[in-house]
Symmetry: C2
Subunit: 414 residues, 2 copies
Amino acid sequence: MFRRLLTLDEARQIIGQHVPTGSLGVDVVPLLRAFGRVLAEDVVAGLDVPSFDRSTVDGYAVRAEDTFGADENKPVKLRVCGMASAGRMPKMVVRSGRAVEIVTGAPIPEGADAVVMFEETEVDNEGILVRSAAFAGENVMEAGSDIRRDETVLREGVVLGSSEVGVLAAVGLAKVKVFAVPRVAVFSTGGEVTKPGRRLLPGKVYDTNAYSLSAAVEECGGRPVFLGVSSDRASEIEGALRRALACADVVVTSGGVSVGPKDLMPKVLGSLGKPGVIVCGVAIKPGKPVTVAVIEGKLVFSLPGHPTSALLVFRLLVEPVIRGLAGREADEPLVVKASADVRMFPAKGRRTFVMVRLKRDKLNGLVAEPVPTGLSGAITTVARADGFVEIAENVQFVDAGEEVAVRLFKNFVG
Amino acid sequence: MFRRLLTLDEARQIIGQHVPTGSLGVDVVPLLRAFGRVLAEDVVAGLDVPSFDRSTVDGYAVRAEDTFGADENKPVKLRVCGMASAGRMPKMVVRSGRAVEIVTGAPIPEGADAVVMFEETEVDNEGILVRSAAFAGENVMEAGSDIRRDETVLREGVVLGSSEVGVLAAVGLAKVKVFAVPRVAVFSTGGEVTKPGRRLLPGKVYDTNAYSLSAAVEECGGRPVFLGVSSDRASEIEGALRRALACADVVVTSGGVSVGPKDLMPKVLGSLGKPGVIVCGVAIKPGKPVTVAVIEGKLVFSLPGHPTSALLVFRLLVEPVIRGLAGREADEPLVVKASADVRMFPAKGRRTFVMVRLKRDKLNGLVAEPVPTGLSGAITTVARADGFVEIAENVQFVDAGEEVAVRLFKNFVG
C-alpha cells in the first residue's frame, strides 16, 4: 500500500498539536542557581534603583548655581561642611556657598544638585576652590534612573544570563521563579549496539546515539535521563519505553525505525495506547524513517539509528518541543548567510539537509562547503560540520555561488 | 604625580604574562558527564568505525557482478541462502548466483559486495528477482569509512558538544580526560552594599555585581565561588581576599577601585605580597579604574563597582584568563557587522565601548543603536544591550551609517 510521506511542515504541525499546553511546573531557585534557567514570571521592580540620588564620582556635592561662571582664572570658593559616605543618608544640608565632600555611591545631601570631581577643585584653608562650573544633575545618578519602581524589568520566558541575574539582584530578589527543566529519557535500540567501555564483539558497534542525543538534550535546555541500550526484542523495547515514560516528560529513542524485520519500534509504539503513532516517516533526507508517537500524553520520538540522521532529526523535530516545554521564548536558531561552494542537489521530493563546513573566501565572505562524506551513518559527518543547508522539496538544485542560509550547530568564528 | 594610564593592549599583555602556564590539572569524567567540558588530550581511535563492512539498508547482500544488466524487463534471479542479522558476523558465503537477506547495520557476508534494497526486488519461489543493477559498494558502509583506527578524531582543547560526545562514544570511550574547571572567587566590596533578600536601609543598594559576575564566570566556563559582600574596611577586605585565594584559582572583586578615601582595594592588594599590583587603571571607558594584582601566584581582578563597567571589564580582561585556564582553544567571541545608527564619539584618549542594541533596517541589514542611557552605573544598560561597539583611542568618531563590528553578549537573532 502506497502512502504519501508527511512533509516536514506537516510533521511539525502534527507534533505541535500534541505538545502539552502549559509548562511542566515552576521551581523557585536561589538567585545563585538561576543562571541559564528560564524566568517563569514577569518581574516587577519593588523599588527604585538606585533608591536615592547617588554620586557617580568622588568629589564635592554642591549647588550647581553656586559654581556658575567658575573657571581656571576665576575659581569659586565654597566652604566644606561635612562628608557624605556611602551607605548612610547624610544629615547635613548644603546651603548656598557650601559643599560636602562625597564619595562614589554616597547619597547626595539635601540642597546639593551636582557633584564637582576632586580633580576640578583645590583645597584652600577650610574651603575649596572650584575651577569649573557644574550643571544641575552633573555626576548625579538620580533615584530610579536605572530601574523605576513598578517597572517590569524582565519578562517571563527570558533565559537568565549574567546581566539578567544582575537585574534580579539589583531589585533585591534572593529567589526567582523559573520553569522546571523538561526531563528527556534517551535510549538506543539494537542487538548490535554495545555500551562504550565494554569489549566490542565481532559484528557489534558502540552506542553513539544515546550519548550524543543526551548531550543534545542538554544543549537545548533539557535534562537527559540516560537509559542506555535496549535490545530489539518487542518485550524489551516495551519495557524500556514504560520505564522512560515513567520518569520523563519526553522520550527519545534511536534505531529500529526502518522497514526491516527487526524494526519493531513502530509496532510497539502503536500498541501502547491512544493515539499512538502520529508521524510515521517524513519526506526529508536524511532522517526519513523517523516515527513519532503519543503515549500516556507524552511525545515519544523514535529517531533513525544513523548518528548524523539522529542528531539532525533531533534538531528539526525534538529540540523545538523541548524548548517549548522549557518555556523558552521562540528564539530562532543561529543562521548565517554563505555562498554555496558547489552545486547541491536535493533528494527527489524530499526536504534535503546538507551538512556543511564554513570557510572564508578572499573577500572575507563565507562559503558553505559540503562535508565530504554523505553517509548519514557517520558520526564524523556531523562532527566535522559547522551547520547545515536546507534545500526545499521543489528546488531542482542550489547552484555553486548561490546564497544559502546555514543553520549553525554552534557559534561559528572562522 | 602624573602617570600615563596603560592602554588596553598593554594591560592585556601584562596580564597575559601572569596567567599560570600549564593547566589547572585534569579530571577523568564518565562520558555522560563530559558535555560542555574541554578535552585535555588528543583522542586517537583504537578501532575502525564501523569495524566491519556494514549494510546501510534492509535488502539482499549480493555480488554486484551478478546483477549487471538487470532491469524491470530483465530481472536477475538469485537464490536466497540465509539471513544476516545485526550484531553477529554471518557465517554464510555469498557465491555467484546467490543472495543473503540482510538488515540495516548487519555485517556484509563474505563474497557479497553490495546490497540491493527490498524495494528493488520481488520474492520468487525460493529466490528473488533483482530488478536493478547494483554497483560494487552500493549500500555498504565500509569498515573504517567513518573513523579509521589510529586516526586522531578529536584534539585537545575542543569543547565537547553533542557531536563530539558522539564521536567519543563511537570509538568506545566510557571516560575521557578533560581540563579541570577554573574556580573563580567573586565578592563585592562596599559598606553600602546589601545582600538581595534583606531589607534595604536608607542609603544602601543591593549587591548586583557578585551575582552578575558569578553568572558571567559560568558563561565563560568557570566555576564561581560566591563569597558575597565585604565591607570597605582594610582588615575585612584583606580577610575576604585571603579566603578567596585559599579556595580559588582566580579572584574577582568589584567596587573600591576609584580614588576616593574609601577605595582601599589597591592599597590592600599592594600589601599582600609580590608582585602585587600589576595594572592600576586602564585607558578605557567605561572601566578605567580597574586594578589587577598577582598574589600567591594568582590573578586578582578588582573591577569597578558600576554594574555595566564591571561586566564589560570582566569580558575584556577576565574572560580570556578564565578561558585560557580552562584550556579552551582561543575561540574568538561572536561578532557581527552592523551599521552605526548615530554618530558615536570615543572618550578622549580612551578605548571606548558603546553598548548597543541591534535592529534590522528595511534592507534587512543590521543597525547598531546605542542603548539610551550611558550610565555605567546602570545594570539595565547592559541588560538592554545585544553587545558593544569598540571605538579605538585615536578615532575621532564613528559616523552614522559607518560599518561597525558588534561583539555580541549572546546569540542575536533579530
